[in-house]
């Protein structure tokens, strides 16, 4: 197996305690906290894509459609001037996004490889133009969310979403839970079949598996989580707009996934932080940051053959 669990464990033990303690030192620096929050939200999105691309072998350029859908769905189903319950709406949004993914997946997953890339892109562009051209959904400018949800469970409320530090912790918790969820999923019996399909679909069919159902299920799960990430994004910034659905969002998420190490899941966090970190640094150094960014990414992909996660594992194996 390419990605061993030891490195993942090390990573979890380094990253999450650090992220947990971060606000103690930087609580005053609201810009930094909100930047970290948005990177974590995007890392969650990249993670769901990483599962699809790296684990299931389903390369999609339309995953951002669900990212945007998460935001738009919240605007559509939540009352405009009333605080709703965060957990209840998480459930609603994930369920509706899963239902949409079921229908789209049913059509998209009949193809594979380059054809699947094209058809997922086509669906995403359709959604993009639908939302950016319709006046009801605010057109190109998108929509504002005026009231943030409250987060009480049985009368107990741990997070105040208007407080950036609280929201930071909510996103950290979501990221951690998603990582754990994918670990469990990959280790499960369902995960065994998904691994088998990724490695040799023909053989898996010959053993009697209906591989379409497994792919569809994976697609639905990843899409629901992608929508959840979009929902968090909308809550953070208080708006939703069509650029969330643009194919460039899918594209950069794909780059982050490759950068982090496709199929490693925790690599999605590494990839997103590396990409966004570079972006942030270069943006402040030079006007032509995109040029340097491109060169750096090409270099990184060439040096780290299996992404940053793969490189870390190689280093650790040498040491131990």
């Amino acid at each position: 197996m390419l990605f061993n669990k030891r490195t993942e464990r090390y990573f979890i033990w380094v990253f999450f305690p650090l992220a947990l303690l971060m606000p103690l030192f930087l609580a005053e620096n609201t810009f930094f906290v909100s930047k970290l929050t948005s990177v974590m939200i995007f890392a969650l999105f990249v993670m769901s894509l990483d599962y699809l691309v790296g684990r299931c072998g389903l390369i999609t350029l339309g995953h951002a459609m669900f990212y945007g859908l998460g935001g738009y769905l919240f605007w559509m189903i939540a009352p405009e001037y009333e605080a709703v319950n965060f957990w209840v709406y998480t459930f609603y949004i994930c369920t509706i996004a899963a239902a949409v993914a079921l229908v789209i997946g049913f059509l998209v997953l009949r193809t594979s490889g380059i054809y699947m890339i094209m058809i997922t892109l086509a669906f995403a562009q359709m959604a993009f133009y639908f939302f950016s051209d319709s006046i009801e959904f605010g057109g190109n400018d998108g929509l504002f969310i005026y009231v943030k949800p409250e987060t009480s469970i049985f009368g107990l409320s741990f997070f105040d979403l208007d407080n950036p530090i609280h929201f930071y912790y909510l996103c950290l918790l979501s990221l951690f839970n998603t990582l754990v969820f994918f670990r469990v999923l990959i280790r499960s019996r369902f995960g065994r079949v998904v691994d088998a399909i990724n490695e040799n679909p023909g053989r898996t069919t010959a053993l009697g598996y209906n591989i379409f159902m497994y792919r569809l299920m994976s697609y639905v799960i990843a899409s629901a989580l992608g929508a959840y990430a979009g929902y968090l994004f909308t809550l953070q910034y208080g708006f939703v707009n069509p650029s969330m659905m643009a194919w460039t969002t899918s594209g950069s998420a794909l780059v982050m996934s490759i950068l982090g190490g496709m199929g490693s899941i925790y690599g999605a966090i590494l990839g997103t932080f590396a990409y966004e970190g570079l972006h942030y640094l270069l943006e402040h150094l030079t006007e032509y940051w995109m040029l340097f960014m491109g060169i750096l990414i090409i270099a990184m992909v060439m040096i780290f053959k299996n992404g940053i996660a793969g490189y870390m594992e190689k280093l650790l194996e040498k040491r131990i």
Binding site: V184, S188, R189, V193, A196, A206, L207, M217
Partner: protein, 259 residues
């Protein structure tokens, strides 16, 4: 044609007027055969005779242009390809077709798990089911790979990969085994292992064996079918087929003195 076979044997698999055309090319033309339970049915013929095409249709990989396939009397040619395996028709491939990145045990576990259920269980770890491991190990031991249990499949020798291929089919607990050249590319000693294995298996399963190694086929087959250019030439016991002048002609025409 099969009059010499005693009729108390059960017909496991049957083809009726099976045809497969690729455009104008008749890869298979009107093949009607019966495969009996607990018998080994060898299929031989020169290259391009349609042996692999026949096997690919028996396992549902190709759909026949015409004709039907009966499994225990039920027509199955229209069902989905994965459903063939669920009915107990397992096959091995001419080119080694395994999960190279996984261990031998894991390879067989994938095969076993299909009928154990819980395939859409998202939460339970794949490593918790002992029964599954046991059945998989049993299949590995049957083909003599018990000692390779925890090796990664791409690290074992070619011959062992061929054995693993058969172990995976056995792990699905099939009734019918479709074996596509299990000895292809093997050394003499390795083939001997497979021959011994097939001798053990042929009284337990209905086996259809496509093979180029004539000595092996003659040694193993209860029934032998010769195919030439997509046509059925003859079927019968090994001795009868060997003495058939048409068979000699077909092979001599190729300049290939196998008999």
């Amino acid at each position: 044609m099969n009059t010499q076979v005693s009729l108390d044997l059960d017909v496991m698999l049957e083809t009726q007027g099976l045809c497969k055309y690729w455009g104008g090319l008749k890869a298979l033309d009107n093949i009607s055969l019966q495969f009996y339970d607990k018998q080994l049915h060898g299929i031989v013929g020169p290259n391009g005779a349609g042996k692999s095409t026949l096997l690919n249709m028996l396992c549902g990989h190709y759909k026949p242009t015409q004709g039907s396939i009966l499994h225990k009397g039920a027509a199955i040619e229209a069902i989905k390809s994965y459903a063939f395996a669920r009915r107990g028709i397992g096959r091995s491939f001419q080119k080694t077709n395994i999960y190279p990145g996984a261990t031998c045990l894991e390879n067989c576990c994938v095969a076993v798990q299909r009928r154990m259920g819980g395939n859409f269980n998202f939460l339970r770890s794949r490593y918790t089911q002992k029964v599954l491991d046991e059945i998989a190990t049993e299949a590995l031991e049957k083909v003599g790979l018990g000692h390779r249990r925890n090796e990664v499949a791409s690290h074992i020798s070619y011959g062992e990969q061929r054995q693993l291929e058969i172990a995976m089919v056995l792990a699905t607990s099939p009734e019918v085994l479709l074996l596509d050249e299990p000895m292809a590319g093997m050394g003499h000693e390795e083939s001997q292992l497979i021959i011994e294995l097939l001798k053990k298996l042929r009284r337990e399963y209905c086996i259809v064996l496509v093979e180029h190694d004539m000595d092996a086929v003659f040694e193993l087959s209860d029934q032998l079918t010769v195919m030439v250019d997509g046509q059925h030439l003859t079927t019968g016991s090994v001795d009868r087929v060997r003495d058939d002048p048409r068979v000699k002609e077909a092979y001599l025409g190729q300049g290939d003195e196998v008999f």
